[in-house]
Amino acid sequence: MTINDIKQRLEDGNERFIADKLDGKLNDTARRTELTKGQQPYAIVLSCADSRVVPELAFDTGLGELFVVRVAGNVANSSSIASIEYAVAHCGSKVIVVLGHQSCGAVTAAAAGGDNGYNLNHLLSHIAPALDATDDGADINTVVKKNAQLNATELINRSSIIRSFVEKGDVKILPAYYNLDSGKVDFL
């Protein structure tokens, strides 16, 4: 599959999801058995841990199709980056979707500021650049979109492995936005 084929496949899957016509293919025993030998997922999704954003449902994919990295706020921290390097360098994945979503609680908490304790403060600090890059009091969803775009750039800036695949044209990074109220994914 080419990068364009993969993007098309994700868009088609999302359309089936929105229409409530999931194929739900590739989730059976035969597929599971086939995959015990190994996996070659064509895409990686870096998305939020939010319970309403389920990449495999939103793109209607089955076993072995997507690597899914999830952390609140879909941030490119060193372990998200390392996970994606693994997918790109070892498994040949060609498309990386950085998927933000409407009304993200992590982005909302980052915008609200204040002390949330060591771990949450650490997590929310990754979202600060998106807040800095948008107007004070900007709509949360504007910050969410900026956050997806900046974290897509962060993958290239902080990983020489991902950067070299992108520069050769073997991998493409697509920032995207999931609409919680419709299930639609908009590529940004």
Binding site: T29, S51, S79, S83, A109, N119, H122
Partner: protein, 213 residues
Amino acid sequence: MNLELKNFTQTKTSQAALKARDAQEMLAEGNKRFLNKASLHRDLHSQIGDTATGQYPFAAVVSCIDSRIPTEIIFDQGIGDIFNARVAGNFVNEDILGSLEFACKLAGSKLIVIMGHTSCGAVKGACDHAKLGNLTAMLDKINPALAQVETAEGVDRSSKNLEFVNKVAIENVHLNIARLKEESPVLNEMINNGEIEVVGAMYDVATGKVSFL
């Protein structure tokens, strides 16, 4: 099959009525449906509508990015049911702990599951002492589990020995539960108050079965 379950979306009230034990039971039942090819055909469209303004996930799961383990599918859960953090090798770090604190403290989840799996590529990489970019530092997180698993002399400790790899994966789950309690005062307090529980699990990529540890 129960129609009610099929069209059920968690609300603040339904979530509040659940205990950690119920949450674990719901995941175990869902995995059973998945194994028996009896997954519910949920009305996802109405679930999207029902959850657009808030989420009340009953459990939070930390699992691997592996493409063979779509968490919601193997537990047969719908939109808004489980908060899910995923990283290669299913370990906890500040940001994953922050995510779990968000899930439990702010979004009301009752149970945290740390789930490893058989034939994990990240665990194999740690066994083989693989070195590559940011991966090197990430695999260091799995090294303590590797060190904990003892083997008789002459036993292969590389990724070629799957039995060894899977033992390391189980140990990795146990160590990360301990790490979670140590490194998150927020979650530790909730555990001590009986508000949440943490449990380990292993997913078998050959059978599709989840075993709670």
